[in-house]
Amino acid sequence: MKLWEMTAKEILAHVLARDVSSDQVLDSFLDRISEAEPQLNAFIDVLEPSARLCASRVDKKLEKGENPGLLAGLPVAIKDNICVKGAPCTCASKMLENWIAPYDATCVSKLVEQGAIIIGKTNLDEFAMGSSTETSAFGITKNPWDTERVPGGSSGGSAAAVSSGMAPIALGTDTGGSIRQPASFTGVCGLKPTYGLVSRYGVTAFASSLDAVGPIGETVWDCALVLDAISGFDDMDPTSSARPGRSYRANLDKEVKGLKVGIAQEFLEGVEPDVLECFESKVACLEDLGIEVQVLTLPSLSYAIDIYYIIASAEASSNLARFDGVRFGRRAEAETLDELYGLSRGTGFGEEVIRRIMIGTYALSAGNKEKYYVRAAKARTMLIEDFKKSFGKVDLIISPATPYVAFKVGEKIEDSLAMYTGDLITVPVNLAGLCALSMPIGFSHAHGKMLPCGLQIIGKPYDEHTVLRLGYALEQAMGDEIRSKRVTMRQSLKPVREVELVD
C-alpha cells in the first residue's frame, strides 16, 4: 500500500516507528496531487516549498528523539478561507485573489505546533456561501466518485482532497453544513464541532453566530485526532470556549450499548428512497449494537431553512462590509470614494455572495428588521428549545447527512431555492450550536453510479465524545466495505494522458 492510500492513523504509526520519514510521506502525497488534481481541481494552491521545510523540521525532531507532536508528519489541506501565513487566502473570490495572509489562524498554528505539514489551500464556494463548490472564482471542484458531479460545499475542495487521497486530513468550515454535506457527498468523515470549541481567529467570518472550524478525515479516529490538536480556548477569539480540554481519542472504543438515539421524523421528509434505505439499514445495525432507538418529533425544524437564510445572510452582510477595496482586497478604478466602494464590491464579489448580502441587507433594513431578522432570532430560540427537549429523552439524534447523493454539476446552480432547501438536515445543528458528525455508511446506485451516502450523528453542546464514540462503533461494525470501495474509486482516478503528437 502506498503512503497516500493510508489513513492518518496508519501514516502516523509509520512515521513514529521511523519506517518512513515525513519527507517521504510528503513526497507520496505530492505525487498523488500531480496525478489526481488535474481531474478534480480541489486545490487553489499547493504549498510545496513551505511544506518541505515543515517536513524536514519534523524529521529533525524525530532524529533527535524530541516529541514531534500529535500529528507528526501528517499532511493537512486547509480550506482557503483559513489564514496560513505567507500563503494566499482567497476565499475563492476575485475580491481576495492576490491577498497574502500576514498571520496563521490559531487552528493552523496549533496543527503546525503538533507536527502537521500544511500541504495546500483547498477550493470552496466563494466566501463559503454555497453547497456545491460551484460558486468558486477558481473553477468547480469535481467529485472523485463521479467527476460529472459536485463534491458538495462549501468545503468541497477539502472533502475531495481527502476522498481522492491527496491529503489524509483537511480542515473545513461549517456554517450550515459545509463540512458535513461535502463529507457525505465524497464518502469521508467530517465533524462540525460545538460552537466555540475551536478558535476562529484567522478564519474569514461568514456568519459569526454559526461559523465553526472542523476536521475532515477518512475515519472517525482521524477526525478525533485533529480535534485533539485544534480545540481549546484562544485568547485571540473571545467566542472560543474556556472549558477544559479532554482527549477525543481516549474513549472512542468505550461501550455504546445502552445509549439512547432519537430519529426526528422531520429529517426524513423528502429524503431520496435509496438514501433512506441506506439510513434504515444502519439503524438496524445500531439496534444490533444494543442501542435504544426512539422516534422523535422536532416541529420547529420546518422553519429551519428560513431562519438560517435570514440570520446567516444578515450576519454575512455585516461581516462582508469590510471588503470595500480600501484596507485589503480588490480595488476598482473609481473617481470618488462611493464609486470605489460600490464598484470594488460589485466586481469583486460573485453573484451568490451578492445575493446573500442583498438578502441580509433587506432583512436588516429599517421596516424589515423586526419582521425578518428579529423574528428569525426568536424562531431560533424555539428551535433550540425543541432540541433541548429532545436531548432530555435521548443521548444523540441521527439522520441521513443529506437528503440526496451528490448531484450533477449545473443541476441546481440556477435554482437558489432548490440549493438552499437541500440544507434542511444540516442547518439546524448550527442554529442550535450543537455538534455533529457526518460519516459514510453505504452507497446509492439510483443514478447509474455508485455514490456515497452519509449518516449524521448530532450531539448536545460539547458532547463530541459521545458523537465520535457512536460513529467509531458503527464504523467498526460496518467493516471494510467503505474503504475497499474508496480504494477502487481512487484507482480509477488515473492521470489524464497528454495527447501524443504524431508526425
Binding site: 497574502i100 500576514p102 474556556a242 422553519y303 428560513d306 480595488r331 460589485g346 432570532a377
Partner: protein
C-alpha cells in the same frame, strides 16, 4: 411584493452588474415568498437568540500592552497606501 433592487444594492454598497439585476430580483422575490412561512408562526414568549456565546465564559482581558501585528505588515496587504495612511479617492468631485 415590490422589491426595489437598485435601492437595495445601494444600501448594500454594491454597484450591481447589469447582468445580475433581473435574476437577483426574481431570486430575492421567491426567497422572500418562501420566508412568509416563518412570518405566520406564533413566537409569543420566545426571546431572540442573537449570539451563541455562553455569557458566563466572557471575561475581560488583563489591561496590558501585547504585541500584535504591526501596522507595517497590515499596510503591505492594502491596495493603495501613502506612508501610514490608506489612500482613497476624494469623497466628492468638489475642490
Amino acid at each position: 411584493m415590490e422589491l426595489d433592487i437598485t435601492r437595495l444594492a445601494h444600501d448594500a454598497g454594491i454597484t450591481l452588474p447589469e447582468e445580475y439585476k433581473d435574476d437577483l430580483a426574481n431570486d430575492l422575490t421567491s426567497l422572500l415568498e418562501h420566508m412568509k412561512h416563518l412570518l405566520k408562526v406564533d413566537l409569543e414568549g420566545y426571546e431572540p437568540t442573537f449570539s451563541m456565546v455562553e455569557s458566563q465564559q466572557l471575561r475581560l482581558f488583563d489591561d496590558v500592552v501585547e504585541q500584535t501585528l504591526s501596522s507595517e505588515v497590515l499596510f503591505e496587504t492594502a491596495p493603495s497606501v501613502d506612508e501610514r495612511y490608506f489612500k482613497v479617492p476624494r469623497e466628492s468631485q468638489g475642490s
